[in-house]
Subunit: 479 residues, 2 copies
Amino acid sequence: MFAKEIYIARRKALVEKMSSVAPEGKRGIALFVGNVEAAAQYKDNPYKFRQDSSWLYYFGLDEPRMAAIIDLDNGEETLYADDVEIGDIIWMGPQPSVASKAAEVGISKSASYGSLNVTVTKALATGRDIHFLPPSRYYNTMKLASLVGIPEENVGKVAPIQEDGGRHASEELVKAVISMRLVKEECEIEQLDDAGALGQEMHTVARNSIKLGIIEQEIVGKMEACVLAKGWGVSFPTILTQHGETLHNHLHDKVVEPGKLMVIDAGAENNMHYASDFTRTYPTSGKFTQKQRDIYQIVCDCNELAFKLTKPRVSYRDIHLAVAKLMLEDLRSLDIVRGNLDNMVAEGIAGLFQPHGLGHNMGLDVHDMEDLGENLVGYDPGQKRSTQLGLGSLRMARKLVPGNVITDEPGIYFIPALIEKWKSEGTGKDYVNYGKLESYYDFGGIRLEDDVLVTADGARRTGPNRLPIQPDDIEEAMA
Amino acid sequence: MFAKEIYIARRKALVEKMSSVAPEGKRGIALFVGNVEAAAQYKDNPYKFRQDSSWLYYFGLDEPRMAAIIDLDNGEETLYADDVEIGDIIWMGPQPSVASKAAEVGISKSASYGSLNVTVTKALATGRDIHFLPPSRYYNTMKLASLVGIPEENVGKVAPIQEDGGRHASEELVKAVISMRLVKEECEIEQLDDAGALGQEMHTVARNSIKLGIIEQEIVGKMEACVLAKGWGVSFPTILTQHGETLHNHLHDKVVEPGKLMVIDAGAENNMHYASDFTRTYPTSGKFTQKQRDIYQIVCDCNELAFKLTKPRVSYRDIHLAVAKLMLEDLRSLDIVRGNLDNMVAEGIAGLFQPHGLGHNMGLDVHDMEDLGENLVGYDPGQKRSTQLGLGSLRMARKLVPGNVITDEPGIYFIPALIEKWKSEGTGKDYVNYGKLESYYDFGGIRLEDDVLVTADGARRTGPNRLPIQPDDIEEAMA
């Protein structure tokens, strides 16, 4: 945990932000329900506990079955959790009291978990607004529905509760939380660098473990070992595939074969629950073919361009588009596309090759705050989300400010099902050289990703040891 | 997956068992809801997928968001799941159809996941009984409550639905499933041996990694790496602690210190989702002190005695009690307890030292079928569960039959909070030498555990390479 002053200051800032939504006496309460254990095989055999990220941000306590209420009118804060009983002490050892846990994060009042119901019922009875965030998990959905007395399907709906009387997730609270979590504090940046170091160690182990004839899962096991030895675990399910064109491939059951490109997209979550997220693409045989190298160099140059353009006051949407333009220019030089660059960018031709966005916010979640709403997190007020393939998947489009931490992850994939779809529909027929593309149907895909902090006057990559990325450096590292 | 004939035969046997609960035409339907992805950090960042164990047993398909209905009157079987759309193919690659997945496990009918609702509504409207198992996860609870139109709190309640009209989990179905899963088939025993091999590899890595001065988490990382490289993951959260007296200690943040006893209780789940579960206790310095060795040898002898007594027609409750008697006899020779052995066993004095049961069933779950109800799983009809500390925690008390797979895990712990509680209440005052016990307050605990298959005429341990257990062998292995 951070020092308690950090949590006190964050909650104070949150109450201040929420003070603008209504006059004093009308602001209501903010209700936070932390995570409980999540069953893997059965109830008492849970997955490794992961606390809710917004809970961690404001309350720090990394334990299951806790809740909290902040009274937005008078600032009173209460932690709801149960003290352990003698039976539990036998099994779990002596435990600090709930009151002392509350004190660790600067909260002076505590009460039993069960009494949360009493407090919420009282607030409802006196007509107070109840602000809560849309939850990620089914338990939290059930719990909030039951506490607030609303249908489960309303719990995840985000709308302004000052306008419609509430009884759903609070857009006001969501926006206040996003505005804070988007801009990382110094103590968070340290953690992101730490998670970066772990992620870079994972990737180094992975690169050194690539060997023809082994099963992919062996590499994954070694990577995850690094993280488990020092951190919480992976920050997302590891992608390690010789079919990079399949963007979300979580199977690792294939034999490593010669001449393939292996995409490894993986990151670590450290013990403070901050994430890293890196991607590298390796030639399984240790050397790129010329055809592989040509495409690889384009992606590498796109990654570098994005980094060079990253600085305050530039929108990440514009950087995505600048990268798309460079990608199309280089693909044009390979005669894969033809025609006017600006027209191709405008018509979204890059989406055929990179059907995802250039990057996303990172922090306590690898797609930071995704469940609070992708558009609220990643788009400035008034900034419209595109419907084009690729640009439409851009999770972070905002004008950058110092303290943003984002990924820079261009990719080029040759996805036969997608190419065939565009071709049969006539999409991009004025630009795409479909004949030439046929020779790329067995190419696979390439993605290269770093994590980037926006600084006062530019940007720096997080994690102490940037992974080799230039094709010559990759071949040297694999030799 | 196993061959489809295995799943066909199991479902046929289940329908036959359920045919005795009501006359034909009155049997109703059996409804199975498989697991969906479970959010870790946020909805689309799930934990590694783990299918429901009973689903795996009858339907084999290891994928999220599937359900099935077996018509208990006419034997008709339907798989409910969704075919992937073009958008999904781009991200996930080409996928086999639901119909072909159904055929892989011998089911001829399939329908969309959404249409499950239609089928259940129709069954309800025509007054048919709906048999379902109590679920482990919140999603399945919500889904079943919504499908059957009952309060969520009823979904987990197990009672005979033929007697009260139902609208809760079906004791009839639970009993039928337990009767099958308790007795392992040949193909399952192979998997348990395979999971045993992985678990033994984990433990060997752990033993070889114990080093003074390192953080416990480093050892845990290495252990889990073995499993992740070849299997699904750990079969339960690893216990690795220098405070073995804290039975459920999942923190691994301590430095390995000299002179301690390190309890390592860990197991592997293989890719077919069968579990292993072993415990060994190591002297952190590589050599036992005499005091440690004296207690260690008692636990080791208890483990051996339990194994020798394990055979068909003997109840595991009686074996638990025989072990308790030996434990007390040996503790008496150390002057830790005094008095008549049979009286001490009858009064549950062993529970002060071993407040848990001798073992539990194992299979697809490490505590096999725990969520179907511990007493229904582990106790024969009419066999009462004790309320004594220790014996009352015994999860497997049944008369053994060939094909049972159980753990043999005696332990001795010196738990200051528990000892103080007994002492202040006067419990065991005629037998326990509380004065002597004071010198054990910093001792910690010892547990030794193997997995055991009940054979036609006795028992054998599962896993190919039994871990060293005799104190001399432990010291030699650590040298």
